[in-house]
């Protein structure tokens, strides 16, 4: 059985996975010979944007992937549950507690309650994720990158602080502060002591193709690669590793990569991110890198550093468009 593995953040990864699953269900992937040969799909999901809030463990990327693949996501917002209500959140605000800038819907709350109670009972996040997925039937094995607590924090300028800056949780930077200021530095707190979740290294070793979807290179893919053991496993994988640029024409399609890439010294271009990941042949991550047709000049630039590249339309405007991207990526490394 062919095994496709995807490193995933939230919305970008979720949309890519939805396209990949669709391609699998329509028998469009290599190695498929009818429904009996439906391939195995695994998502290794960033957990560094997780947070504890109101005593609840919230895993935004895991939930976005699970809700998206389980058809429970709000398609307009791109996060949280459809047909959502906000009564509990209103009440929390009425009690004057902190953290009410984070959108916590009534339906969504149930997921966090089940997760938190299971964690307090001693289950690992990967066990919890499997239990939640028993309901959502995503058609993809969803693995957290790690069962250990890792949290992305962002340093921003703060004239009121003696140091001239302060450090906020990624969710505070993104949701509360709307990423309106440049990130000065990004830290994945706890990642040095984290280990890959059960199944992660096995999936990487077993994969036939590994995708790096158009997720944020700094705060979505970055933490996954920073978990000790994962980068080495990717380097040793027998599968080709193919990425898709989240930067089109010098800006992110969605999110805040533009504000974050400079903090790690990466140019906000498709070529810049490709070079950041690097060619596997030269100690980098990738065997192939898809850029948008608007970034065709990146193809020759990246050839100079040994990274095979091609340009195709990269906007996930529809499931069909995403299926095309999946097939183009596969073709690039076939």
């Amino acid at each position: 059985m062919t095994h496709f593995v995807v490193l995933s953040g939230g919305l970008g990864g979720a949309r890519f996975l939805t396209g990949l699953r669709r391609a699998a269900r329509e028998g469009l992937l290599p190695g498929q010979h009818g429904a009996a040969a439906e391939p195995r799909l695994t998502a290794i999901v960033n957990t560094a944007d997780d947070l504890w809030l109101h005593g609840l463990k919230i895993c935004p990327d895991l939930d976005t992937v699970m809700y998206s693949l389980g058809d429970g996501i709000d398609p307009d917002r791109g996060w949280g549950r459809r047909e959502e209500s906000w009564q509990a959140a209103e009440e929390l605000a009425a009690y004057g507690v902190t953290g009410t800038w984070f959108g916590l819907g009534d339906r969504d709350l149930a997921t966090h309650l089940v997760r938190t109670q299971m964690l307090h009972s001693g289950f690992g996040l990967s066990d919890v994720t499997a239990a939640l997925c028993a309901r959502w039937q995503p058609g993809v094995t969803i693995l957290p990158m790690s069962d250990d607590r890792v949290e992305t924090h962002i340093a921003i300028a703060d004239a009121d602080s003696p140091s001239g800056q302060r450090v906020v949780h990624f969710q505070e930077y993104w949701v509360r502060l709307r990423a309106e200021m440049a990130a000065r530095a990004v830290a994945f707190i706890g990642v040095e002591d984290a280990t890959p979740a059960p199944g992660v290294l096995e999936a990487i070793a077993d994969a036939d193709v590994i995708f790096v979807p158009p997720s944020n290179p700094v705060v979505s893919i970055g933490p996954i690669l920073a978990v000790p053991g994962i980068r080495t496993a990717l380097g040793a994988a027998r599968a080709p590793i193919v990425g898709l640029s989240p930067i089109i024409a010098g800006d992110h399609v969605r999110g805040m990569a533009r504000q974050l890439l400079p903090s790690i010294g990466v140019e906000v271009t498709a070529a810049g991110v490709g070079a950041h990941y690097g060619a596997r042949a030269n100690g980098g991550l990738l065997d192939g890198w898809l850029v948008d047709t608007q970034d065709v000049s990146a193809v020759s630039q990246l050839a100079q550093i040994g990274l095979k590249s091609a340009s195709v339309p990269l906007l996930m405007t529809s499931p069909d468009a995403t299926v095309s991207m999946v097939l183009s990526a596969l073709e690039l490394v076939s």
Copy 2:
């Protein structure tokens, strides 16, 4: 400042307290000479029907009292919040978790989240209750009977069990099983090791009048009296202690006292409950006992055991009716 103290369960106590507060605000209580002399009101509330569910600490009686006095209660149900929704509860059921028979509204959830997080942060239940009341402004100092965990469990017949019975949490007996079977025994798990919450013994000692409202004698008032130290403090109180019968014409007005009283050997009558509490002069609890006009025969019966009694209308059908009951109770022990 005159100080009125009420031992309270949920709905019955909450309605009585609402009437008492109304009487206070209208200047109808003894010792009042204009608004400047507004009396102090304290409720000592049963916490033995508390439960942990979905990882949350839920205190039904405390919440019923707080929501009632804070005008947040659903007046028709008599528990939970008005304008409530049930989205999180639907989702919990969809996840297949246990305990979804307990009604957990979206607005109500916020209270439990704030409480649970405060408890996990090391605050006592009385601190938490004061914090929650900062929002609700009940006009009554609401004290849990104890900060320690005490839980009422009920033994019921179970033909499938080797012992012929099983033991369920009070909420399971009342909410899930609807108290449809007789209780064989009632146990307040943990009460032996519980201590009165901060302020409880002080309120009893300081009180000018202590009320036992028409709450359930077994599972509402019973646990309060069972907390070591409270019964002794009541016996030593300088205040008269006056109770109101929850049994009218041989049945409870609301709740499940009829199913529970036989388990502690008490007749389901106004006289039976009065005798159960007993006359203070003879080592019992009460200086006075109000029964309904339908139970006028109880007055002479109770006189024989030294308990001063009177019959008045005891249905809390309106705030005015409750004010009359409060004034009748005061008159009985004045």
